[in-house]
Symmetry: C2
Subunit: 262 residues, 2 copies
């Protein structure tokens, strides 16, 4: 039986017991119908990935008996995705795909032309957790509450570079812009900023272009939806600046979990 | 009133009339409630984009009076996406995003570990048409009927290069592999080949690696779902080899259609 891979807030070390949430206990008991002692893989974003055994408790609860570490924690690039909320199916998709593509922070931003104002942060976080569990990631991106774009730019952290996808056109090609970065820029924390479907307002474009460490790029001759632009920019950034520049490790099948192929 | 952008099979030139399909007529009459004479933008993948006027016919039919060309047809990179069918929502998404990212052919491939055998080619084509209409693309990818991977490789067209995303790990980084291509390779037709969620069978991996013009690459340390890998590889290919290497044209707002921001 393949191990079920779960994210936990608990600290993980050999011999400890990690309480599972009610939702996790329900999933293992009633959806997966896993018996006591079933194999688990746990990660918390700090201690790497650990093999564990399911320990059923009473009628509803469950815990995990942690045995040995299967993967060490790895340092991931510090990459924010700042995106204007879009309608439900597409924003869920952005949370899922951005998690697979390695963002560390999902920051919804409200802009003048943002169509969607309400953001279900809890649901975005659930999508991010599920994507991390299913795709062997060792961490879960932080999902932040929506903030107005101008306020976000006004409080922008010193040294964090912006990759701005300029849907008004005229931006230099993304590959050339990223390939030409110096070592200091490559080593810096980054944020990818994607506009709403309606595009940035001119005041917002001006504010973005005035930022100290902004790199404005174009994503080709075809117009991309906001969600497509976000994923395309993330993939190009990881390939040219991020951790896709290292050869990919050859995965042992032990690392493939029962939810890894969903 | 902004123009509604529609794909048509008809030839387009000044002064001609293009019949609209029953579905297009219904959409314009009853969904968009467009009156006779409403502005349209038409493209057919051959003649560029043309301004036209809606001409209502009787109770159900509609045609378009074609007036002037708004954009010339552009030559796009010759890029196939060969992907194993995945469950409905994800395969629809692949068809939509691959269209935005500029593929010319969507080729479903059946592999030993392909979970989904049935593919609704008509629905995939409808998704591709809608994505092209909504994102200002001047062409629609051809959606082919599913074919067995080994047969596809056996009949592989001479000179078409393969970009193989190797989910077993150990592949060289995609950016380095694509940036290192010579001019002949860059000018060649290409295909991106993505495996099923279950991964390629070993015989399939061997056959792929034996292909003459194959470039096997890795997509970073995190495992990507098949649909994520397809979109990430497409974005990296367009950025490093395809038509994202040219500066993006600054779009006139005239080109933004009423369906462009859906």
């Amino acid at each position: 039986m393949s191990a079920t891979r779960l994210f936990t807030e608990a600290d993980l070390s050999a011999g400890t017991e990690a309480e599972l949430t009610e939702a996790q206990a329900h999933y293992l008991r009633h959806v997966m119908r896993r018996p006591d002692g079933s194999p688990l893989l746990l990660f918390n974003g700090r201690d790497g990935e650990w093999a564990a055994e399911l320990a059923l408790r009473g009628k509803k609860a469950a815990a995990a008996r942690v045995s040995e570490r299967t993967r060490p924690q790895v340092v991931e690039p510090d990459l924010w995705l700042c995106f204007a909320p879009i309608k439900r199916a597409r924003i869920d998709y952005v949370a899922e795909k951005a998690t697979e593509l390695g963002v560390t922070v999902l920051q919804p931003v409200l802009t003048q032309h943002t169509a969607v104002e309400r953001v279900n942060v809890g649901r975005l976080r659930a999508n991010a957790v599920e994507a991390a569990e299913q795709t062997e990631r060792l961490s879960v991106p932080e999902v932040r509450t929506p903030v107005d774009l101008m306020r976000l730019l006004g409080e922008w952290p010193a040294g964090r570079r912006l990759l701005m996808c300029d849907e008004t056109g005229g931006g230099p090609p993304i590959a050339g812009a990223l390939a030409g970065l110096d070592d200091a820029a490559r080593a810096a924390p980054w944020a990818i900023v994607i506009g709403p479907e309606g595009g940035f307002a001119s005041a917002e474009l001006t504010a973005l272009r005035r930022m100290k460490d902004v790199t404005a790029v174009g994503l080709g001759p075809r117009i991309l939806r906001a969600d497509t632009a976000a994923l395309a920019a993330l993939a190009c950034w990881q390939a040219l600046v991020g951790d896709w520049r290292q050869p990919t490790p050859r995965l042992s099948s032990d690392y493939r979990s029962s939810r890894g192929a969903v």
